[in-house]
Symmetry: C2
Subunit: 273 residues, 2 copies
């Protein structure tokens, strides 16, 4: 998907919501367990209930891989269901030497036609650049994550005075641009969003950590919004597990709609719409 189409989707839906499709066999409603593929049945109902409210879907690969071959089949069928009007993110956090990253690119941009892939930056340029060679495909580079371990290395200060995540942002601007590179920036650190925006003013940010992880949507918009919106805010558990009863899809829609309405209000307040 192009940046232009993504922005159009955001404008049209008045939403920059991304929904994490992380189906957990121990958490999905019991009545789905006798289906041939319970995780696919779950995903399909979640998608049908939310597709007009969100602009992106983000399956985290861990939830599919753990079922082996069957899980990859579920992923393929989920992708088929999503279609072409949502930005799709393979939350796979891959990254390897150049020679090998090329194969991961084939997996997630060709075998499964995702628009984008999350990539870990630790191995540097040649682990990232092979993904940037695909037209209208995106790398979403981990910069500042929302988990506790983010403070182990990402926020460590370098001799130059900048934090490791700032070095990652700066260095990566030499590898790609706002048309093929986005960044994961945790919403639990909204004060750091200002620092991020100072380095990558034009890029889209994928912001996890709203809801279950405690981030504030108002702060994210305050410090993260740019002329293209520039934000995809993800919620997974707060939406897909809003209920574990027969009303799960309906409750997922209610949760997603609550966030979408708040997004519309904030975009409008910022005169973005």
């Amino acid at each position: 998907m192009t940046r232009k189409k993504l922005i159009e989707q955001i404008r049209q839906k008045q939403s920059f919501l991304c929904i994490g499709l992380d189906p957990d066999i121990r958490k999905i409603p019991e009545h789905l367990l006798d289906q041939e593929d319970p995780l696919l049945a779950f995903n399909r109902e979640i998608i049908a209930a939310t597709e007009d409210l969100c602009v992106a879907y983000k399956p985290n690969l861990a939830f599919y891989e753990c079922h082996g071959v069957a899980g990859w089949k579920t992923l393929g069928k989920t992708m088929n269901r999503i279609g072409e009007n949502h930005f799709t993110i393979a939350d796979a956090k891959r990254g390897d030497i150049g020679n090998t990253s090329r194969y991961y690119a084939k997996t997630f941009f060709e075998q499964y036609p995702f628009d984008s892939l999350t990539v870990a930056p630790y191995m540097g340029i040649d682990s990232v650049s092979p993904f940037l060679e695909f037209e209208n495909k995106w790398v979403i580079l981990l910069a500042l994550t929302s988990n506790p371990g983010a403070s182990d290395f990402q926020t460590e200060k370098l001799k130059s005075g900048e934090a490791v995540f700032e070095k990652v942002l700066k260095t990566s601007t030499r590898w790609g641009n706002a048309d093929n590179l986005m960044y994961v920036v945790g919403a639990t650190k909204a004060n750091l969003l200002q620092k991020v925006r100072a380095i990558v003013p034009d890029s889209f940010l994928l912001v996890p950590g709203i809801g279950a992880q405690g981030g504030s949507l108002t702060e994210v918009v305050e410090y993260g919004l740019n002329k293209d919106c520039g934000l995809l805010v993800n919620s997974s558990r707060g939406i897909i597990y809003a209920s574990n009863g027969r009303d799960f899809a309906e409750k997922a829609r209610e949760s997603a709609e609550k966030i979408q309405k708040e997004m519309a209000r904030l975009l409008s307040a910022k005169n973005w719409l």
Copy 2:
């Protein structure tokens, strides 16, 4: 596999060789292409030709994932063929928030019964520790890789004076120990092995970069050997693609044997055997 058993294997085979099983459909011998599963046929012949010469096999997941469901089937059958007397490494470079890393652990320690998994450190403690809860299973943490991009972040100096990779090593010693944690340390940087050994004297190191990437086995042993050997040196392309003709398995054996003999000579010279 326990550390004790791994050391016994090394002593018995006079080898600390790990062979990377990275089958590439464009590089394997043509005569295999009419087999039902060419990559599996290739792996089986490579394993049969080398299993007495190496102590570990390391499939890099990128080479399987890029074939979708079929690739995961090939991986499973390859694992079945390897059996229990080789240390198996899922070179997957995974790492996610704790909740999610648990699912990756399920994939690589239960769904596919690998002994170990390579993990990227960028997300910190909660991305690594879920893998350390499995008995006799191992995390192999990326510390200092052998690719060009390693200099982008890994060797950057922190305010404290230590490099990022040294911080990763030091911090991780609080998460695990020499019985469940190894490190990837690139052989193209043998001078840095001394620094690594100063921080993790007892740990096993997985050393890529011998052969195609230019590292020296003598230097690796000089600076990396410890009382348990403490080394697994990987070669992939130099062995598995030694020939692309009908003699590929024979030539792979010759290449592996050359390395094994050099290893035996070095271990003997160091009075380790």
